[in-house]
Amino acid sequence: MKHKVATTVNGRRHEHEVEPRLLLVHYLRDNLGLTGTHIGCDTSQCGACTILVDGQAVKSCTMFAVQAEGKSLTTIEGMAKDGELHPIQQAFWDEHGLQCGYCTPGFIMAASYLLSQNPNPTEDEIRKGLEGNLCRCTGYVNIIKAVQTAAKTMGGAEAKPSERAAARRS
């Protein structure tokens, strides 16, 4: 039997009838066409499918779409605003925090959650905070640099895009 699922994804309301066994990640990718959320494993380990559910980082492969009823979701597509990259996206660009890019959406969403809980994390805290995400090509050094840079950029500059741009240039 199908069930109704009504969610807000990146600020837009959606409502669908879905089978209970439909995983949230498949709902996002196949029903909503939001293919920025990636599937990197079959065992809930890699974190490529990480999104925010009511502000909490979760692996969207380990949740059924029906569980998202009434929830507010943010995916990688919801990060950039008005054509400008989110500071975390910009920091991954500037610090070369990716190579193939497959794991990047998950890392950015996990970093977004980490910085929401701890705006000025130490390197150890970043490493621990990103333990649920795997990268198999860049390695983690530049990813950690990117999160450090994003933390600096977002500290106080978040509300003012002009200052954010200045911080990027410096």
């Binding site: 209970p20 079959d42 809930s44 909490q56 980082a57 380990t62 569980q67 649920g132």
Partner: protein, 268 residues
């Protein structure tokens, strides 16, 4: 992989959840955090006919101090336990263990009741529950932890019985949990918990058998005045761990001894 088809129902109370379990029969499962169940379903190692979603039962999400006891609601997430000032104050070992479960994403979803009811041999809370003589409260009765864990993934829960709360004693003396693993988010290859309580040590072992183990021989040796390194030699007494991809039985026994020594010595 895509899980096999199942019926889905949301319960708004424990009574309703119990009724739904009865309605859908013995192959129905309770869905809490889902972070053990859904991976098993995706691999089709589990194919429940129905899932009863209890995430809407808000009264199961609580941390209450009750005299010399700490009552943790079944739906309390690991992240909540990890950050709770009450848990850090009254049973800091539990907060420490909660922070070592999985990763951030797992801790945002996974629950106390889920770990207890799932009874994975590598689960961390069952070890603590056993060694501290915790009580598992269900919608029908209260079960002592020592009577709860029966075998691998097997508990004394009946088909329509739901864990509602786990009740730990308050213990804020020296403690340490060492979870030995290859990667931060992994399950324990072997885990050892040490807690000093009312003047005596309690020692618990994770993943050295089908159920959690209380290392009574180590506790007794410490009580008789043995040094940690002497007492820890008894950690593998009577153990018969299964070998798996990550460790042989001998290696697990070795780890039990070494980590027990370290857990006692590093307790603060």
């Amino acid at each position: 992989m895509i899980p096999a088809a199942f019926e889905y129902a949301r319960a708004s109370s424990v009574e309703e959840a119990s009724k739904l379990l009865n309605k859908f029969g013995e192959d129905a499962k309770v869905l809490a955090g889902g972070h053990s169940l859904i991976p098993l379903m995706r691999l089709r190692l589990a194919q429940p006919t129905a899932l009863i979603d209890i995430n809407g039962i808000k009264e199961l999400d609580h941390i209450k101090e009750d005299g010399h006891k700490l009552r943790i609601g079944a739906l309390t997430r690991h992240v909540t336990i990890q950050n709770s000032s009450v848990v850090k104050d009254k049973l800091p070992l539990l907060a420490e263990i909660a922070g070592e479960v999985g990763d951030n994403q797992v801790r945002n979803m996974g629950t106390m009741g889920g770990v207890i009811a799932h009874a994975d041999a590598a689960g961390d809370y069952p070890t603590l529950a056993l060694m501290l003589d915790a009580e598992i409260v269900t919608n029908q009765r209260t079960i002592q932890a020592k009577d709860f864990f029966k075998d691998l993934f097997t508990t004394s829960l009946g088909p329509d019985e739901i864990v509602t709360e786990v009740v730990f004693p308050v213990a804020n003396g020296p403690h340490k949990y060492i979870k030995f693993r290859r990667r931060l988010f992994d399950w324990a290859i072997v885990g050892v918990a040490a807690q000093k309580m009312n003047g005596d040590w309690r020692i618990g072992l994770t993943n050295v058998g089908p159920t959690p183990v209380r290392a009574k021989a180590v506790e007794d040796a410490l009580k008789k005045g043995a040094k940690p390194e002497e007492a820890a030699q008894h950690a593998s007494d009577g153990l018969n761990p299964a070998g798996d991809l990550r460790a042989s039985p001998e290696y697990k026994k070795h780890l039990a001894r070494v980590l027990t020594k370290r857990a006692i010595q590093q307790s603060t």
